[in-house]
């Protein structure tokens, strides 16, 4: 994509919008550097920052464990979502399966259901299936809830994908699984990364279901960590905000790692006319 010049007032506008939307983040990070005494000062950036909160949090023993749990759950659910939705997208857009559009809209309809309304049925189901306090207890529901959105994106790109590319590959002797692996996946890679980030953010940040499913401390995930530092009357908010800062660093890093796929114009070219 050609870089377009942005007018000076355009820059000003961007700076203002970014500035406003950064306020909560700055405040969160800033609070994590405050002591109990300075916590409630009504300024955006307080004087005398301290690392004491981070020290407390890092040495509490929960952080590493929760972090690993979160990583296992989020990464697994991202991978599972990708695999399932790519294969389903392929079947729904390419194979002449009877009732494929019915299946597609049925899956999509899950987007209409808020997670909160699923909480109780899911908990009962997981109890029956012995899924409480297991990784599967979160990976399963997260994946199932992520697939509709992933399907929406992936079906969209697969529909706009020139079918001649696949046909050329088929004539070149590639069987359907090879076409999927060697042609489709590399070409729709940027969209897959969008799905991956979305799913990662969702499974990394999800709080409600994790709270209900993971009752054993050793199984809890990162969003539950702040609960351990609230104290009884929010006596030291600095610790809570240190936890929150750590929790939110991960998605930022992940985004930075994969964002180059968003801008690569990989799918353009090769098709003329």
């Amino acid at each position: 994509m050609p870089r377009r010049r942005v007018a000076p007032w355009g820059y000003a506008g961007i700076v203002v919008v970014v500035g406003i939307s950064l306020v909560p983040t700055i405040y969160m990070v800033d609070l994590s550097f405050r002591t109990t005494a300075t916590s409630f000062q009504p300024v955006l950036v307080a004087a005398h920052p301290t690392l004491i909160n981070y020290f407390t949090v890092l040495t509490s023993g929960h952080l590493i464990r929760f972090f690993l749990n979160s990583a296992v759950v989020a990464v697994s659910s991202v991978l599972l979502t990708l695999v399932c939705s790519v294969m389903a997208g392929f079947a729904i857009t390419r194979l002449k399966v009877v009732g494929r559009s019915v299946v597609f809209y049925w899956i999509l309809s899950a987007l209409l259901i808020p997670l909160a309304s699923l909480l109780i049925p899911l908990t009962i189901l997981l109890k029956t299936l012995h899924g409480m306090n297991t990784y599967w207890g979160l990976i399963g529901p997260y994946t199932a809830l992520g697939i509709p959105f992933a399907m929406l994106i992936i079906k969209g790109v697969m529909d706009s994908f020139p079918s001649e590319l696949e046909e050329a590959a088929v004539l070149d002797g590639a069987s359907p699984p090879q076409v999927l692996r060697q042609i489709i996946v590399p070409i729709i890679w940027p969209s897959l990364m969008v799905v991956a980030i979305w799913q990662f953010l969702f499974s990394w940040n999800e709080f409600f279901l994790a709270l209900v499913v993971m009752t054993r401390t050793s199984m809890k995930t990162m969003p539950l960590l702040p609960l351990y530092f609230e104290g009884s009357y929010m006596t030291n908010p600095g610790e809570v905000f240190a936890v929150l800062s750590i929790v939110s660093v991960v998605p930022m890093v992940v985004y930075l790692l994969v964002q180059r796929w968003f801008v690569s114009g990989l799918s353009s070219g090769g098709i003329k006319g």
Partner: protein
């Protein structure tokens, strides 16, 4: 048995008949061109041969073997798509090597074949490029190269030159024909351009709305079109058509049209015309309406005095347009005599090269 055979092939999309009772036998090494206007089913036929489209009815044989139920990836056919369909995420080398890798050809052999094809098509300096960094003509060569390296049993080409500008198209037309002769691979080539069809095909299949009109050599189509559609489709300039009545007069058969009346030479009258019917369409090509002293002497009855309306001198030939009855007629004169507009001239209608068609047939 022919190398590729399509026997009574039909293709239906729901109620719509895209291809109707298609029969064709292709010898090994032959260059067949399928030509016809847009939407007549040309691509559909290629896709059925390739195995990308199911055959609704009939059979297709390749190398003596029925392939109706053989999946496309086992058919060993290479196709050049109209939009080239190069893999955008692979460079030129990998684009060409892809099919060979899938067929487990040894790496050294792949390298040899890709480089050889690249040299043949003069794209050897582009092997590291991604498709989007190539011009249309280069992409087209890569698409061809991808087909060549496979050394397939059959080449299918779907209007491969239609995206190129006129000059490169001319050049590629010659190169393609030469390449096919050299490789000797049986080829089915689809185009809607009659010049491409005439210049490249050993035999040409003319189609219209899913129905084969005629299968013949280029000269056969030109000299003996079976109906008005083929006659109008083949040839550089559109044929002139006149509604005529065939009448008996003084023991002679007369062709009576709007503004003229010619005695009909017997060569013009195929057997089927001897019946009751007397309303026909006379077709005569612009190049068969000429200034020709010798022909004028032989057949003074074919001469017409006409007033020239428009003149288009093209150098080695001149097109003139003149009214005859209510029709505007095109004549293509060779030589350097260029008449002027409004001039009265005598032209000879060379009826020995004219054609009579039934009225209702197109």
């Amino acid at each position: 048995m022919a190398f590729v055979q399509l026997a009574k092939v039909w293709k239906m999309f729901g109620q719509f008949i895209a291809v109707q009772d298609f029969n064709l036998e292709i010898e090994e090494g032959e260059f067949i061109v399928i030509v016809g206007p847009s939407g007549c089913g040309k691509t559909t036929i290629l896709r059925m041969v390739a195995g990308l489209e199911e055959i609704s009815r009939g059979e297709i044989y390749i190398g003596g073997k029925k392939v109706n139920d053989m999946p496309a990836w086992e058919r060993d056919i290479a196709m050049v798509f109209q939009n080239y369909a190069l893999y955008p995420h692979m460079n030129v080398y990998d684009n060409m090597a892809f099919g060979l890798r899938n067929r487990k050809v040894p790496a050294a052999e792949i390298r040899r074949r890709v480089h050889e094809a690249a040299r043949l098509l003069s794209i050897d300096s582009l092997l590291d490029h991604k498709p989007k960094a190539l011009s249309g003509g280069q992409q087209q060569r890569v698409a061809l190269g991808r087909a060549i390296v496979r050394e397939p049993r059959v080449f299918l080409m779907d209007e491969p030159l239609s995206n190129l500008d006129a000059r490169i198209r001319l050049q590629m037309r010659v190169e393609l024909a030469r390449l096919q002769q050299r490789l000797g691979v049986t080829t089915i080539y689809v185009t809607h351009d009659q010049v491409e069809a005439m210049t490249m095909g050993q035999r040409i299949v003319v189609m219209r709305a899913g129905v084969v009109q005629q299968i013949d050599t280029p000269m056969g189509l030109y000299e003996r079109p079976t109906n008005r559609f083929v006659a109008g489709f083949i040839g550089m300039l559109p044929m002139n058509f006149f509604d005529v009545l065939l009448e008996q007069a003084e023991g002679n058969l007369l062709l009576k049209g709007d503004g003229f009346s010619f005695p009909a030479p017997s060569s013009l009258l195929p057997d089927k015309i001897k019946g009751q019917e007397n309303a026909f369409v006379l077709g005569i090509r612009p190049e068969d309406i000429v200034f020709d002293a010798e022909l004028t002497q032989q057949h003074p009855e074919w001469v017409c005095r006409v007033e020239v309306e428009v003149v288009e001198p093209l150098g080695e030939e001149t097109l003139i347009y003149f009214p005859l009855g209510a029709k505007s007629v095109t004549a293509r004169l060779t030589g350097r005599t260029v008449p002027k507009p409004k001039e009265m001239v005598s032209v000879v209608f060379n009826l020995s090269h004219a054609h009579l068609f039934e009225r209702e047939a197109g």
